[in-house]
Subunit: 237 residues, 2 copies
């Protein structure tokens, strides 16, 4: 059986072999939810960048831009990190450059470390991701973006959900799988309640972003998997 | 209420404030289980050191020495990393210097980062540790030693056990608490079975150290808390 592992924080990524693996980057609240939503609503490609200045450079090339730090929309960019912002906008054929506190950092780190393939996971595209991993993936590393180096609960719970669904096809080969799967198990009856005390849930709730949270925790809305090709994430239907 | 947090790997320790906290170092298989056992059986103090050569230097000063790497007893030292080795030996008043792959590294790292206080936890001294944290501790950080930077399941489960017992006195202030507690919950009916597929359990079992595992998972055997005073861990009854 193929192996599957979980890395609970990008800071632990250097302990994992990534060269021949499909790395699934997970930042439920909210970067990977945004990427899935943006591509589902017409954006042609999303370029994840680590720094604000890199993102700004794409503006001059006609890209739409999204920038978030510490949960806030950075001034001077079209979008912050709310997936809802992509719902009502005419985005067909537009290109988007995006930088966030954790998610795009995890993406660029996985790329820098030479991951065999990089895809994006969120509750929003869960079924499509699972189907893709079952049918096409090599060995898999689920990379949780966390929060500034610390682990977080919502990314871990989603990783646990993926693990649980892939039990028949993959062999768990890392103790972090046990942690993620335990959290998924305990929370699966009511994920929103299970996550209610978690740190970024609380942070976003205080900022009035409860609608974002509800949206990001809704599974199976979009039938696509964002895949990194060169510098950009594009949709794989 | 006082706060309690969990750091799942020493490599994430830099994200935690430790200066005013009681840091509980946890390496169930097997360093902190060894430290508790050695102090319970007459060892006067245990000096944890990060490097093999430092440990060797203590031999010249009349110390007993324990050294382990990758699960194996390092040649030329009195002990490896089996707590059972301390049961039948006349250790009264002797001093011990110890170096292991993960546990002593976590101890020395917590010290280097200026932890307010450092104590040692294991299933073997669980009740004594809980009593101490309830009565005397400041805010608490549970530091799991893990395995070479990766998280591991047995340390996380023990951290979850501690969290669960301290719910009435402490406020969880970190998402890692949710992960550790979930794993404890799912495993508590039969910890040995729950941990049977975990990485270091498997590693030790292959080395024929099942008796070590059984011993290390036995709760409440010794009524003492090892506390770091200067360079050495001493027992606090």
């Amino acid at each position: 059986m193929k192996k599957i592992e979980v890395c609970l924080s990008p800071e632990l990524l250097r302990h994992y072999e990534v060269a021949h693996k499909t790395v699934v980057v997970i930042d439920i609240l909210r970067a990977t939810s945004c990427i899935v939503t943006a591509l589902a609503h017409g954006i042609e490609k999303v370029v994840p960048v680590a720094e604000i200045e890199e993102c700004r450079a794409y503006q001059a090339q006609g890209y739409l831009t999204a920038a978030e730090r510490n949960g806030d929309h950075v001034e001077g960019f079209d979008f912050g990190n709310s997936p809802l912002a992509y719902l009502d906008t005419d985005l067909k054929g537009r290109k988007l450059a995006m930088t966030t506190s954790n998610g795009t950092l995890a993406l660029t780190m996985a790329k820098k470390m030479g991951a065999g393939q990089i895809v994006v996971g969120a509750f929003l595209n869960r079924s499509a991701l699972l189907q893709y991993l079952r049918d096409h993936a090599r060995e898999v590393l689920l990379l949780c973006a966390g929060w500034k180096g610390r682990v977080n609960l919502e990314d871990s719970v989603f990783a646990g959900n993926v693990l649980d669904e892939l039990l028949d096809k993959f062999q768990f080969s890392d103790d972090a799988c046990g942690l993620a799967r335990s959290a998924y198990y305990l929370g699966k009856k009511n994920p929103t309640r299970f996550l209610a005390d978690s740190s970024h849930f609380q942070r976003l709730k205080e900022r009035g972003a409860m609608a974002d949270i509800d949206f990001c925790l809704t599974p199976d809305q979009y039938d696509l998997v964002p895949v990194l090709q060169g510098e950009a994430l594009v949709r794989l239907d």
